[in-house]
């Protein structure tokens, strides 16, 4: 089965000479939730805009559902729904009319039942006759999602969908994305909230300076690149780490009360048992201990810093 989106050698150079995308290769699988992470100006929105037809590619090939986005634009665009980063809304139109407009624009006959389903799922049904300018920022964001879903897309691009929305709404949107994924919709998500990607994504891509620097299964990424740490809360402050513990590369906290040991869970021997034994020999005692695993955010920051 071919990927639902296939991007090969995509380059985008703006009129001013700025190269936003540098020979990007990327494949998105049918039905997955793909999180595209990257710092501001990395090329996330440009990539989405080119795939959706809002911006022209300088070179490269993009296939959606196996068809070229230029020569078969009617087919490819009808498959895609886009929730843009900017809060662009038809201020003077009602929620219902603006969603009906979107559905028609994408070549679908009127379907009040579908629009009702979409608006209800986004808690917008009671606002259907309200004009957009009277809605709160969070509600406007929901309307953008409703518009993108009004033509029943098979692929949904969410360009920072939860930017500036409250925690409750963010959770609602996560639920909507999860439900769409269960229905078989492919979701491509860009976000600054790494926890969002951690929560939702099947795979993660990291883009920086217009180049894809990593694409990986989220679980594998966190397993491979994630670090685990053991923190020991000492009974008494320690002046310095004893020399016999140098091999463990322990970090002593500023207040001298915590020792942190980083280890790799993939190794046969993590070194924890030996460390605890050495600590006992060195007459270092602790009250408590805890372990923690690095988040996707830590991994992302590491990757981007390495790429600088």
């Amino acid at each position: 089965m071919h990927p639902t989106i296939s991007i090969k050698g995509l380059t985008k150079t703006y009129a001013g000479g700025f190269q936003a995308l540098k020979s990007v290769d990327l494949e998105i699988n049918r039905g997955e939730i793909f999180a595209l992470l990257g710092p501001n100006g990395a090329g996330k929105t440009t990539l989405i805009n080119v795939v959706c037809g809002i911006a022209n590619a300088t070179s490269g090939e993009i296939l959606v559902d196996g068809k070229d986005i230029d020569t078969a634009y009617r087919h490819t665009r009808s498959k895609i729904g886009l929730v843009p980063q900017e809060m662009a809304s038809e201020s003077f139109e009602t929620v219902w009319n603006t969603c009906r407009f979107s559905r028609g624009l994408f070549g679908k006959p009127a379907s009040p039942a579908h629009l009702e389903k979409v608006l209800t799922s986004l808690s917008l049904w009671d606002k259907k006759d309200t004009i957009s300018m009277e809605l709160s920022g969070g509600m406007k964001r929901r309307v953008l999602i409703a518009k993108a879903l009004s033509h029943e897309p098979e692929i949904l691009f969410l360009d920072e969908p939860t930017a500036g929305v409250d925690v409750e709404l963010r959770q609602d949107m996560w639920n909507v994305v999860a439900a769409l994924s269960e229905e078989g919709v492919t979701v491509i998500l860009t976000t600054h909230y790494i926890e969002e990607a951690e929560q939702l994504a099947d795979r993660v891509g990291v883009i920086n300076h217009g180049e894809i620097i990593l694409v990986e299964e989220k679980e594998k990424l966190m397993r491979d690149l994630g670090k685990k740490q053991l923190v020991l809360h000492l009974q008494a402050p320690l002046a310095e780490v004893p020399a016999q513990l140098a091999d463990y590369h322990l970090e002593l906290s500023d207040d001298r009360k915590d020792l942190t040991f980083s280890y790799d869970t993939r190794q046969n021997s993590t070194g924890i048992t030996a460390l605890l034994s050495e600590l006992r020999n060195a007459d270092i005692h602790f009250n408590d201990l805890e372990t923690s695993q690095s988040s996707l955010e830590d991994i992302f920051v590491d990757l981007v810093h390495k790429d600088q």
Binding site: G53, A55, E86, N97, F101, G107
Partner: protein, 253 residues
């Protein structure tokens, strides 16, 4: 053809007109009625007939042209500029629609609005002055061609404009003077010879002359030439619109 998309754009634009009915319909009808009251009834009664037609009746075709040209430009330029300004244009650009369908939706709606305004002004004029339409078919042809071509021109203007000032500068500084100097209120045969020659470089002269001929069979230039110039303007606008969509000029980055 994406019929649903054309219908969606057309319906959306028509809804905008009915939402702003005072600005879209009442304002142009009121201003044109004032022209009839002042130039038709008050001042017109002291002006002699032009080519056997009372002055009040003579200015009717010119005033209709004046209104539909300015309204066509205003409606269609705003229709495409506003989504650009608010950012909602992304939806049209990412939709499975051809440029022809986009233009058909926007320009079709703007043309309908202009035709409605033209019909209302014609009806309003009939309350003030006697109107005869010698060639109704020719009259409708000129009306339709003018509406479509100036709506296309407005569409181009809306795409080109990068600010509100640019959006209004062309209608005010170019179209309005050309219309007033194009024979709306007079026959160019009333001008000194040198100004008659200069007037022939004004394309609006041909539109008004042809349109007026359909009413009273009086024309400053031949009807065939008027029709040719009007169609020529339409073709030029169509070619520019086609180029805009082909290159993505000021629409796609």
């Amino acid at each position: 053809m994406n019929f649903y998309a054309v219908k969606a754009i057309y319906r959306y634009e028509m809804a905008r007109m009915f939402r702003t009915v005072v600005q879209s319909i009442v304002a142009p009808v009121l201003s044109t009625s004032l022209y009839f009251v002042i130039f038709g009834s008050a001042i017109g009664s002291r002006i002699t007939e032009i080519d056997g037609v009372s002055y009040g009746s003579f200015i009717v075709p010119g005033l209709i042209m004046l209104s539909i040209m300015t309204e066509s430009i205003s409606n269609s330029s705003f229709a495409i500029y506003f989504p650009k300004f608010t950012g909602t244009i992304f939806e049209v650009l990412s939709a499975p629609v051809s440029y022809g369908e986009v233009v058909l939706g926007y320009v079709g709606a703007a043309t309908t609005k202009s035709l409605i305004i033209g019909a209302i002004i014609l009806t309003t004029a009939s309350f003030f002055v006697d109107i005869e339409i010698a060639h109704p078919l020719v009259m409708v042809t000129f009306l339709l061609l003018t509406c479509v071509s100036f709506c296309l021109f407005g569409f181009i203007l809306g795409v080109w404009a990068t600010g509100w000032e640019k959006l209004t500068i062309v209608p005010i500084l170019v179209i309005m003077p050309l219309t007033f100097l194009g024979g709306t209120f007079y026959s160019i045969s009333m001008l000194p010879p040198v100004w008659q020659t200069i007037s022939l470089f004004n394309p609006v002269v041909y539109l008004i002359s042809g349109f007026r001929w359909s009413f009273y069979e009086n024309a400053d230039v031949s009807v065939g030439l008027s029709l040719g110039i009007t169609v020529g303007f339409l073709v030029v606008c169509l070619l520019i619109v086609r180029w805009i969509f082909k290159t993505g000029y000021r629409l796609r980055s």
